[in-house]
Symmetry: C2
C-alpha cells in the first residue's frame, strides 16, 4: 500500500493499527467490501465482492450500474472491509463488544480497461473462487463489455483491530468475578458442496479446488 | 417497516425483493451494519453493531465520535446489512457469483435519550448477546453519558437476494456440462467459549446463555 494511514480514528485510539501488513492480511482474508457512493447528497453503501490488487483493491459490477458509473467518474469513495472474529462477554454491557478487524480505504476509483481489466478479473476469480479459472471457459466479448472493473488505490487508509478479552475495571472484577466472562470466536464454515442439476445428472465428482473450500476453514 | 421500498435497483431486477418479511428476517439474522457518513464531501463507511428496533435499527457508539455526532445532526445516511450465504460456481466467471441477502436502509438517524435510549441499549444487548443482560451489572451513569444511541427508521429501503445455482446459457450447459458446477453454502460457526483470566481462575462454568451460542449455529 502506498497510501499513508493519515486518517486517525479518535475513539479507542488503542485499536488503531498503522502496520500495513495487518491491512494486507485483512484484504487477503475478506471477500466483501462495503463501498460508498454519494449521489445528489444521498449516500449509498453497496456490498461488492473485491480482490486485493496492485496496492489496493479491484471490484467488478455491471456497466449498466448507475452507482458504478458514478464511482468510475472519480467521485470520492470509501471501501470498508470488516471481519467479525468473535463475541466478547464482559460483566457490563458497556465493556461487552466484538472481536473484529476492519479496514477503510479512502480515495477515488479508476475504471480499468484492456490488459489491466483482464488481469483484475482473473485476480477477482482467483481470490473469490481459488483455482477455478482454469476449469471454466474464458469470458466472451459480450460479457467483457457488460462488466465494469474499478480499481481503488487508496490515498489513505485506516485499520482498526479489536481483539482479546474485555478490559474490565478492578471494581467489576472484585464484585462480579463470579460472573462468567470471556470470548466466543466466530469463524466461517463452508460446505458441503451441492451440485447443480447438470452436475448431479452427470454424477460429476466435486473437484479438488471446490472440495478444498468446502471441507476446510474458509 | 413503514418506509416504502421506493428505491429500485436497476441491475438484476429479479434479485430485488419487496417483501418486508424478508427485510425483517435479514435484520434479525445480522449483527453488523455498514453505515455511511459523509463529512465535507468525503464518505466514510463505518462497521457498527446494530439491533432491529421499532421499525428500523438502533446503533450505539461513543458520544465522542465525530461521525456519530454528524449522523445525530440529521445528515442523510444509508445502513447496509449483508449476509453472505454461499459461493456459486458456474462454468464461466461471468455467471459465477455469491449467494447473499442484503438490505439498504435510507434515511436520517435520530439520537435517543431517556427511556427510549435505555430500551434500545437493552435491545442491542439482547440481539448481540442473547440473555446476557440479566447476568451483568446495569450501566452506570458515566457509561450512559459516554454512549450515543442512534435510531434509523428508514424513509425507504432496498432488499436484494441472490440465491440458488447459476442461471447458465444452454450452450454452456451443452459444451461444458462435464465441468462441475454448483454451490457451497457458507455459515458462521461460534465457539468454543474461552474464559477470561478471572473466570478461568475461579473455574466458573460456561453459562447456558453463552453455551447456546458457542455450541450452535449462530
Amino acid at each position: 500500500m502506498t497510501g499513508a494511514p493519515k486518517v486517525r480514528v479518535k475513539r479507542l485510539p488503542e485499536k488503531q493499527v498503522d502496520d500495513p501488513t495487518v491491512l494486507a492480511e485483512i484484504l487477503r482474508a475478506g471477500v466483501l467490501a462495503h463501498l460508498a457512493a454519494v449521489v445528489d447528497g444521498q449516500p449509498y453503501v453497496l456490498p461488492v465482492a473485491y480482490a486485493p490488487w496492485s496496492d489496493g483493491i479491484v471490484l467488478h459490477g455491471s456497466n449498466a450500474s448507475r452507482l458504478f458509473r458514478h464511482l468510475a467518474s472519480g467521485a470520492p469513495t470509501c471501501a470498508t472491509i470488516t471481519l467479525l472474529d468473535g463475541l466478547v462477554y464482559a460483566r457490563s454491557a458497556f465493556e461487552s463488544s466484538m472481536e473484529y478487524r476492519s479496514a477503510m480505504l479512502f480515495g477515488s476509483a479508476v475504471q480499468l480497461t484492456g490488459d489491466r481489466k483482464a488481469a483484475a478479473l482473473r485476480a477477482l476469480s482467483d481470490h473469490l473462487l481459488p483455482d477455478r479459472w482454469e476449469h471454466i471457459r474464458p469470458p466472451s466479448e459480450k460479457e467483457d463489455k457488460a462488466t465494469m472493473v474499478l480499481h481503488l488505490q487508496p490515498d489513505s487508509w485506516s485499520v482498526k483491530v479489536g481483539s482479546g478479552f474485555a478490559d474490565e475495571a478492578p471494581a467489576d472484577l472484585e464484585l462480579l468475578g463470579h460472573v462468567w466472562a470471556g470470548r466466543v470466536p466466530l469463524s466461517t464454515t463452508a460446505g458441503p458442496a451441492i451440485p447443480d442439476p447438470t452436475s448431479a445428472a452427470h454424477g460429476t465428482p466435486v473437484p479438488a479446488h471446490v472440495a478444498d473450500i468446502a471441507n476446510g476453514p474458509n
